[in-house]
Structure formats: C-alpha cells, structure tokens
C-alpha cells in the first residue's frame, strides 16, 4: 500500500516535472523565434522536407477518411430520408473535427517521431553540443526552425486532408446517386460557417506547433546512449498524441464558450 502511494506520488511528480520542463522549453523556443539570426533557409528546407514526407500519407488517409465516413453515415441518414443532408454533415465533421485531429495524429506519428529520433541522434552523437560550442544555438538553428515548419505545415496538410476527404466523400455519394460535384460542394459549404472554419484552423496551428515542439523536446532531452534515440522517438509520438487530444478538448470548450456568449 505504501509502495503504491509512493509510486503514484513519483508518477505525479514526474508528470508535473515533465509538464514544467516542456513549458520552460517552449518558452526558450518561442524566445528563439524573435532572436536574430533567423534561419530562413533551414526553415524552408525543413518545411519542404516535412511536407514532402507527409503529403502522400495525408492524402491517402484523408481520402479514405471521407469515403468511409460517408459510407458509414449513409444508412443512418437514409433512414431519416435525409440523404441530401449528408454532404453538409460530412463537411462539418471533417472540417471541424476529424480532418484536423486525424491529420494531427498522423503528423504526430510521422513528424514528431522523425524529429524526436533525429534530434535524439544529434544529441547522442554530441552534434547539438558541437553546435552549441561553435556559437550556433541549436535551439535557434535546429529546434525553432522545425517547430515553425510544423506550425505552418500542419495547417496546410489539414486543409489538404479536408479537401481530399471531401472528394472521397463525394465519391462515396456518387456511387449511390447521381449528384454533380458542384451541387455536392454547394450542399457541403452551405452548412459551414466561419464559426466552423476559424476555430478549426486556429486549432491546427496549435497542433502543428506542439507536434514540432514535442518532437524537438523529446529529442533534445534524450539521454546518452543509442537506445534513447528510439525512446525519444516513441515518447514523442505518445506525448504529442496526448497533447493533441488535450488541446482539442480545450479548443472545443473554448469554442463552445465563445459560441455561447
């Protein structure tokens, strides 16, 4: 019993410690955004690399997401005789929630782990130390650029996933009935308002920021030793996914708060 309490206490301590460390790290990184010199070249390189690496995955997943969601929702809507509401419903659920969250989770799996492993390896092989000693701040050159790249790339990827997802949804509808793509789009966008789009978009920027940040943090704080590279990649995915859900929860609440007033 005492052991159990001790364990819980340690776990809580470790948790709060981790949260605090991440926040301090976040503060350091954000400070780097405004510190000269700004590494535009590295930012563009990272953005290209991240986008290029993730685009096919996001495209395929987005398409299947829209297709399956529509096929699954169709019988329910049919039983209400409300098939014409299907495009609107799918559009709202993809753009508001499923698009951002699924894409963010995929990016956590793909980008966060990649960054975690890369920085973990750099840490283990003392590349970060070497950079530090040479007067190039790794926080500035390595971390800030990656975090900014994901912050701006994830929203783009989310929009891609939304578009491809809607197209998948159209395909699923077109299988069953004769609906023109223009009518589908008009039905889909009729049910959307800025209240749907703006918080969902703002949310994706935050997702992107934390996907990059958690990956960097986990890599940056990797222990010595080769096995810690794998560990930081793994824990980057887990932590980033968890953070995405927490942010999503907060965002939903925040939106409802704004919507209510």
């Amino acid at each position: 019993m005492k052991d159990l309490i001790n364990t819980i206490q340690h776990l809580l301590e470790a948790f709060f410690q981790e949260v605090g460390d991440i926040l301090l790290f976040t503060g350091d990184v954000v400070r780097q955004f405004f510190t000269a010199p700004f590494e535009w070249k590295e930012l563009v390189r990272q953005a290209y690399y991240i986008g290029n690496k993730t685009l096919p995955l996001i495209g395929i997943t987005g398409f299947i997401m829209g297709l399956v969601l529509t096929m699954q929702s169709r019988p329910v809507m049919e039983s209400f005789g409300a098939e014409s509401l299907l495009p609107g419903m799918i559009a709202v659920s993809i753009i508001r929630e499923i698009g951002p969250v699924i894409t963010a989770l995929l990016c956590a799996g793909k980008i966060s782990s990649g960054i975690g492993a890369e920085l973990g390896a750099m840490k283990v092989t003392e590349q970060l130390d070497a950079m530090e000693v040479s007067g190039a701040k790794p926080l500035n050159y390595v971390v800030a650029t990656r975090v900014l790249a994901t912050t701006f790339l994830v929203p783009v990827l989310v929009i891609m996933a939304d578009v491809v997802g809607l197209f998948g949804s159209y395909m699923a509808i077109a299988m069953n009935e004769d609906l023109s793509f223009m009518l589908f789009l008009s039905l889909a966008f009729d049910s959307l308002s800025f209240v749907d789009i703006i918080p969902a978009t703002v949310k994706t920027f935050i997702f992107g920021f934390f996907i990059g940040l958690i990956g960097c943090y986990k890599g940056y704080t990797a222990d010595r030793g080769t096995e810690s590279v794998g560990r930081s990649a793994n824990s980057a995915v887990v932590t980033a996914s968890l953070v995405i859900f927490i942010i999503d929860l907060l965002a939903v609440q925040f939106t409802s708060l704004l919507g209510a007033s």
């Binding site: 949260v19 460390d21 926040l23 927490i246 609440q253 409802s256 209510a260």
Partner: protein
C-alpha cells in the same frame, strides 16, 4: 539542477492545475450559461415536464433569456421548475405571464417558453411564481388535427350532396327552383278559374234569364261578394310569392358573398360553381314567378271586372 528541478515542477503543477480548472470552469459555464450576467429566479409548477432538464433554455417571445436552473419533484403530481432569467428582461416578465414547456423544432431539445403577460399586472419579483400552461404535445396535436380534418371532410361531403340534390331536383326547395310545374299548375288554375268564370257566366245568364231553381234562389250580390273574396285570396298568394323571391335573393347573395357557415368552412371551387348555377336557377325561378304573377293579372283579374273578359271568352 536542484533549483531548476523544483522550478519546473512548480510550473508544471501550476499549469496543469490551471488547465484543469479551465476545463471545469467551462463545463460549469456550459451548464449555467448565465454565470457572467446577473440573473433572477422564477418558479413554476408543472404536472408533467416532458423530459425537461437543468440547463435547458428559457425563451421569451422567441428570445433566449435564461436557463432552467432546477427541476424538482415536490409532490407526487407536482414538479417545481426553477428558471434563472437574465436580469435585463425582468421588466418584461409580468406576474400574469404564462410558462409552457415546448420543444426546439420537431426533434430538438426541450425548452421553456414564457408567454408575455399584461402590462397592468406589473413585473415579477425574485422567486415569483408563474402559472404554467399545459402544452400541446405533437402526438396530441396530430390527433386533434386528424379530427378537424375528418370533420371538415364530412362537412364538405354533406355540402356536396346538398348542392347535388338541389341541382338534380329532389326535395321541395329543388322542385320549387327547378320545376316549372308550379307555373303550369298556376296556369291550369287560371284556366280552371276561367272555366269557373264561364260557368258563372252561364249561371248568371241562367239566373238573368231566371232559369232553374238555383238562379232564382241566389242573389246576384252574393255571388259578386264571393268572387271578390276569392280574388283577394289570390292577391295574397301573389304577395307570398313575392316575399319568397326576396328571401331567395337574400339567400343567393349570402351564398355569393361567402358570409355563410358553409362557405367559411369549406372553400371549394366545385361548390362555388354549384352555388352559382343554383343562384342562376333561383333567378330564373324568380323570373318565372314574376311572369306568372303578371300572367295571372292579365289573364283573369282584369278580365273578371272588365269587358275584356267577355272578349277573351268570345275569342
């Protein structure tokens, strides 16, 4: 290291607690959305709240003005519902405002409607009680509507049958309107009266000539008197026919202008056509009656007292 550890630990604890508090606060706000603005409470008793729960909206003339703050069962058939209402609308909620439980759309969530009261009653105070109105539920409404539709259908069916009967000439009214037997009968009557007059002439002739016992017995003046009486009776018949045509015209007008019960309940173009034809026919009937009356005048009323009677008979 030790210092920085405790610093990040404190920061983590602080921020985690902050996030948790934020979440709880938002949930709390979600259930009581009027937390920020000042509000007051009113109550109302219901027999059935139909699934109303805490947090449902309260509407006044279609505007959201508050939320349901509690739903309590206070006796086996009484439920006390407390409404938390925005202070700013207090002056519009009168003591005699009525509260009703309704539904947002056909499938939406339950809400409470407050119906405006009268200005004379004055605004309600804190914890005031408003009278509840038994609301119509959709099932009940549909049942009522079905009844109304059935009734309406029966009425229109009756009207249809009625107009058809009028048209096809069954019954007294129809016969009066459609048949010209009356005029024929009247003209027959005229003919018969003519016959009588002829007979009378013969009799008078016989009387004049002093033929037979009866002629001798009867006085000329008596016959004249009797003839006079029958004439005045015929005049009455004519007057009655006149009033009847007037009544008929009124009826037609009423039908035409749609003030009658029939037209108000069922507005039917078929019916309107029927009514139209009916009126035309009534008009024709009236014409006929007028003609008849004239014929009567011309045929025997004047003939009886002027020389033309003889002329006509001779002819």
């Amino acid at each position: 290291m030790g210092k920085s550890k405790s610093r990040s630990f404190k920061l983590g604890l602080f921020v985690s607690a902050g996030v948790l508090l934020f979440m709880l606060a938002v949930y709390y706000l979600g259930s009581k959305q009027n937390l920020f603005s000042s509000s007051f409470t009113v109550q109302s008793r219901f027999y059935d709240v139909k699934g109303l729960v805490e947090g449902n909206k309260v509407r006044y003339s279609g505007i959201d003005v508050g939320t349901v703050s509690s739903v309590k069962l206070i006796a086996d058939s009484t439920i006390m519902v407390e409404l938390s209402i925005d202070e700013r609308v207090r002056e519009f909620i009168r003591k005699d405002s009525k509260v009703e439980i309704g539904r947002e759309g056909l499938m939406g969530s339950k809400l409470v409607f407050i119906h405006p009261g009268t200005a004379v009653a004055g605004s309600i105070g804190d914890n005031g009680e408003l009278e509840s109105v038994k609301s119509v539920d959709i099932e009940e409404m549909l049942r009522e509507a079905q009844k109304i539709i059935d009734d309406g259908r029966a009425v229109s069916k009756n009207l249809l049958a009625m107009s058809r009967k009028i048209n096809e000439g069954e019954g007294d009214l129809a016969r009066l309107i459609n048949d010209n037997t009356i005029t024929t009968t009247l003209s027959q009557t005229g003919d018969e009266l003519l016959g009588i007059a002829q007979n009378a002439r013969e009799i008078t002739e016989k009387v004049n000539k002093g033929e037979g016992d009866l002629g001798r017995l009867l006085n000329d003046t008596t016959i004249t008197f009797q003839m006079n009486r029958s004439l005045s009776q015929l005049e009455e018949v004519g007057a009655n026919a006149d009033t009847f045509t007037q009544e008929m015209a009124k009826f037609g007008k009423a039908l035409n202008n749609g003030q009658g019960l029939l037209n108000r309940l069922v507005y039917d173009s078929v019916m309107a056509v029927h009514v139209d034809t009916t009126i035309v026919k009534v008009g024709e009937g009236v014409d006929d009656v007028v003609e008849t009356a004239e014929a009567i005048r011309e045929s025997w009323l004047l003939n009886l007292f002027s020389g033309r009677k003889k002329k006509k008979v001779e002819k």
